[in-house]
Symmetry: C2
Subunit: 212 residues, 2 copies
């Protein structure tokens, strides 16, 4: 679970057991890999409600793992999400502070998080998209993918907030994009980071089992 010392590792193991005991009955419908993702989210937030809020499309895990295996990039909406992502063999990109993003935001009168997605598409980004905060960024990704302007393997779409977050996540569910969302207004950085790092861990497990 990301711990790098013996004490950290012991804490993570004990926590995992507690999480399983708390949410086991709510995750029976999930595959083993999907469970790993949801358990890590509950471990990271200490919020058992996420066991019921997480929704994953049937093709989400497979597409995300293929993306990671091929060392494709990860694009995040904000820096807090990108610095939380560990051990990815491709690049982790975040354009929220990029001068071109700031220019696009002004030109189109959109949020910087949305402009960052547009700039990523213009820079030929391809890979997995992780939106931990901004509904406007998620809407922009959906728009770009549906116009054929962005090459996206899967989307972790867990923006947070009372304005537009639930609606943006519902919009993602109604696309053909492989997705993970959290129902309703809740979500945020720790959920985005936990889901991404769980997938990176699963990819590493796969590579150990099948190094070719």
């Amino acid at each position: 679970m990301g711990a790098s010392t013996k004490q950290g590792h012991d804490i993570a193991l004990k926590s995992r057991k507690i999480v399983r005991s708390l949410i086991g009955d709510k995750t029976n419908h999930l595959s083993a890999k999907e469970k790993t993702i949801v358990e890590r989210i509950v471990h990271s937030t200490a919020d058992v409600e996420y066991a019921e809020l997480c929704q994953l499309s049937k093709d989400f895990v497979q597409n995300s793992l293929l993306s990671l295996k091929n060392n494709r990039d990860i694009l995040t909406d904000i820096k807090m999400v990108s610095v939380g992502i560990n051990k990815h063999s491709g690049e982790v990109k975040c354009f929220i502070d990029h001068p071109e993003t700031i220019k696009l935001a002004k030109e189109y009168e959109i949020t910087r998080a949305a402009a960052a997605m547009q700039y990523a598409a213009e820079s030929n980004f391809s890979g997995m998209v992780v939106i931990g905060n901004a509904p406007t960024a998620l809407y922009k990704v959906i728009e770009l993918v549906e116009k054929g302007l962005m090459d996206v393997d899967s989307v972790i779409g867990v923006p947070v907030g009372f304005i537009g977050a639930a609606e943006a996540k519902n919009a993602l569910k109604n696309t053909k994009i492989p997705y993970m969302i959290t129902k309703g207004p809740k979500g945020g950085t720790p959920i985005a980071v936990a889901a991404t790092n769980a997938l990176i861990g699963l990819n590493q497990d796969n590579l150990k089992e099948d190094p070719l």
Copy 2:
């Protein structure tokens, strides 16, 4: 609320109104400044439970604002917290990846988050401490302050998790350190960042009103 575009600003304003309507009856015991902090936490997490989980010592806001006014430093346990903090006029420090931290963690068989606090004390850090994740870091800060080895103005102690987080926060409550905590296992990066940025905003409001 940190938004830098008109659309972002409009969303933040609407959200603030919704947050007030949702938690207004749970924050009557708080001062106006304390309410600002708690509202920002609920805005950032879309989790109204935080209105009841946040506890602030009577001297927390005053001591934190004095620390910020004097441009003293902010120390965080992990990078996700430090990159989320905006517009602080002092330095925002995080030593989790520092070579000396890694050395100390090995030498004393402690977590890197705890070792980072020890290294900060050895480097004569002084200012506000913000712990968003690791209970072990919070215990270490308490130990260092009580031994007179660390100069701390206030602590935002909101580590998260089922192992030790609630206990560490209770331990902080039983010190003389000005504190903000979240009761129980819940807490984390967005809570730590929201509380810190709310304080930075309050400090800026103070400076506008009284520029001398």
